[in-house]
Symmetry: C2
Subunit: 453 residues, 2 copies
């Protein structure tokens, strides 16, 4: 156990005297650990008593840590600590009985930095109480419930997914971009858009970085973005959010959508391995296991529909799967191949956005979804890259060409064959951890009725 406090403020060598003291000099004496004592700080998560000993379970940036209070003069103070009090503890590091190489801090001083003003409305360190909370209470008290060990773990895992996503794609020579979220037109021609009062104009929140990432393919060939996207959809289900984090990539000079799927398979493998290696504690809290794969099975949508109807008694419609169809298919694929993931390909062009590349001589498109435990986590595909074909597609959908002027501009000047995909961050986390509701995987979810906290 190192002294967190010392590592937080690295002491710099003193500089030559100067008219302007540097920030480092000013900081160099702040927060220095006192002579020989180690220092920990954090929030009191729980207290545990064993005979004459008291243990403080402290939540720090490292997670939960345990502090031993065995000095009689500190026991009264320690026992009176209410949960969530912010404290700084100085003491001695001593080996933990029975566990070699592990040391514990034995407190000599406890400094109270900030005490709660009210009793906690939710006992966040008691898992049973947390489990019995309604989704509404979980969200109402979000600034507090996020401090629970398991809830906190969800977003630790999401941070690791993001880190690994970027790491893999940078390794494949993708460039990160930041596209605007304020846009003048929708990617689908106007449906499901939130409108903004933008000075004298009407603007909208971007449904996806789609048009911009495509434009950027001509600049960098391979681009990615992790950012918020907005869907003004009325549905209020366990799998939908009105604002969510989309992990997008787009790449040029592909021959078909198969390259996109192959790239994603390696990307997801990298992301899952990273979470397994770096979030083992967090996964264990959910008894969750990352999927292991070298390949992901794939099926044409029509084949999936046929299997569902013929073998599994599914009663749904033919152009897409409903949640029940997705669930049945997941169980079937899992039983047949062992895989929790499956690519569905060859979606009908009519059910996909206009920019999807149609398959020659069929009604299908070069697009796909990826289902993970029966939930779509990715949509992707090859895009139309020739101006005339794109204009024709917009015309066929009955949309006005002039709405897409900026987008079409790009195609006027040479666009390579390209495609890409988008992974929903909250959805992949929900599925990995078997969360009941995607809202649990959003830090501060925005849904049909909720815009706070």
């Amino acid at each position: 156990m190192e002294s967190i406090h010392q590592s937080a403020v690295e002491i710099q060598a003193p500089a030559a005297e100067s008219e302007f003291p540097s920030a480092e000099e000013a900081a160099s004496t702040a927060g220095q650990s006192q002579s020989g004592l180690h220092c920990l700080h954090g929030h009191v998560y729980a207290l545990r008593r064993f005979g004459s000993l008291l243990f403080i379970v402290l939540r720090s940036r490292k997670g939960l840590e345990q502090i031993v209070v065995d000095k009689p003069e500190l026991l009264v103070l320690a026992e009176s600590l209410s949960c969530e009090t912010a404290i700084r503890v100085r003491g001695n590091l001593m080996p933990k009985p029975g566990e070699q190489e592990v040391s514990e801090l034995h407190a000599c001083e406890i400094e109270l930095l900030s005490t709660p003003n009210s009793a906690l409305p939710v006992e966040i360190s008691r898992e049973k109480r947390m489990q019995s909370l309604s989704l509404n209470a979980l969200m109402e008290y979000r600034p507090l419930t996020l401090r629970n060990e398991k809830v906190r773990a969800i977003f630790k895992i999401e941070a690791e997914f993001c880190r690994a996503f970027r790491e893999f794609l940078c390794g494949q020579e993708f460039t990160e971009i930041h596209s605007p979220k304020i846009v003048s037109t929708g990617t689908e021609g106007g449906a499901s858009l939130f409108s903004i009062d933008y000075f004298e104009k009407k603007a909208y929140l971007a449904q996806s970085p789609q048009f911009y990432k495509q434009m950027m393919v001509a600049v960098y060939e391979r681009v990615f973005e992790i950012g918020p996207v907005y869907r003004a959809e009325e549905h209020n289900t366990a799998r939908h959010l009105n604002e969510y984090i989309s992990m997008d990539f787009e790449m040029g000079f592909i021959e078909s959508e198969a390259e996109l799927m192959a790239m994603q398979t390696r990307l997801l493998k990298h992301m899952f391995v990273a979470v397994e290696e770096n979030c083992a504690k967090e996964l264990a809290l959910f008894s969750a296991k990352v999927p292991k794969f070298e390949k992901i099975p794939q099926l044409k949508l029509a084949e999936a529909v046929e299997i569902l109807a013929r073998k599994l008694g599914w009663k749904g419609e033919g152009n897409d799967l409903d949640p029940e169809g997705e669930r049945l298919l997941f169980e079937y694929i899992k039983a047949e191949t062992g895989s929790e993931l499956v690519y569905l390909t060859h979606y009908p062009w009519k059910t996909r956005p206009f920019y999807a590349m149609p398959e020659k001589g069929s009604q299908a498109s070069h697009s796909f979804d990826l289902l993970y435990k029966g939930l779509e986590i990715t949509t992707g595909g090859q895009r139309i890259h020739r101006l005339e074909e794109l204009e024709k597609a917009i015309f066929e959908r009955g949309m006005p060409l002039e709405s897409f002027g900026d987008y079409l501009q790009c195609f006027r000047y040479g666009m390579p064959p390209h495609g890409g995909l988008a992974i929903g961050l909250e959805r992949i986390a929900k599925q990995l951890l078997d969360l009941k509701n995607v809202r649990q995987a959003a830090l501060f979810p925005r849904d049909r009725t909720r815009i706070s906290p």
Copy 2:
């Protein structure tokens, strides 16, 4: 020079036969390089003729690369290539005359993937033409002008700033978060907010992740976020955007704002070194040099104002610097210390947001700005962490307490001393590269009048 094409599609070992072919199998034959020939793809950036040779300057994901066309039967085709045509070239790698260890592709086949439909309205590969473009033209044709070598370099550098920002902070045990951009209230009580029609409700675009990153300090102690922020400000200057990328961090258990400044100094050093090492070509295009420092000088705002008035003949007002004051101060600090960066500290509390920590016994606050070449790129400071003080501050500003209910909730349950800062991505890039206008550092800028492309 490696075969880009082969590396793009890694060929997987064939799997055992299965009912469901994997995406990798489907991809394994796509785009295979033909027998022995190397393959490059990209856009034709420029053509150069030397005697009987023609060179194609190709823009690929690696940047600009040169292809030699020396086969007479290819010359006619190659000479007819218009700029921005997307091509795939197969050929032989041969050593470049006079340069050991460098090889060039000598074309055997040129495949046209997509040709421009119109003549380019801007000759993007001619720097003089680009320089003479108005800002308006640069932005009107953004999908095209971004393909220019220098413009492209700006966002390569920004991507590296972001990568290095995250790398450094992850190393300091910060956790990445994604806070909502749709909010129910502003961080400053309602001014400068874009409003959104959110179903039956009125919502706003977040001016900063301020409240959320503070709430997350109680969860992870140290958090960061890179994301868009929104300012509905009327000013239309060379340094303002209405949507920009904010690089935020917030950390708990600090003793003073000096720790924030010390952390940022090390962070910026890491970011500048990363850009110097990984974007040498891009920097060279601008003859730009990253600042080198171990420390950054700091001045109280009042001291800066006094120096400006007494020594530099500045005529501005006392509570903040105007652009002229910032410029004069930059020149002075540069001359006195050699530093292009300077911290200004002790801003009057009244000119800062209500949550800034006031200094005891003075009118000042524990807050600071960082100026880089005379432009504010960072604002930060310690925050009030006690509920009563925060309520008092809101009251003193004449703002309604009930607007801040969700934010205050967090402070009811124990908040440690904390603080943080935000760096403007476009501004730091603008200053590094000496761009005239911050719009040049935004991929698709949003300003007083522009919401497209």
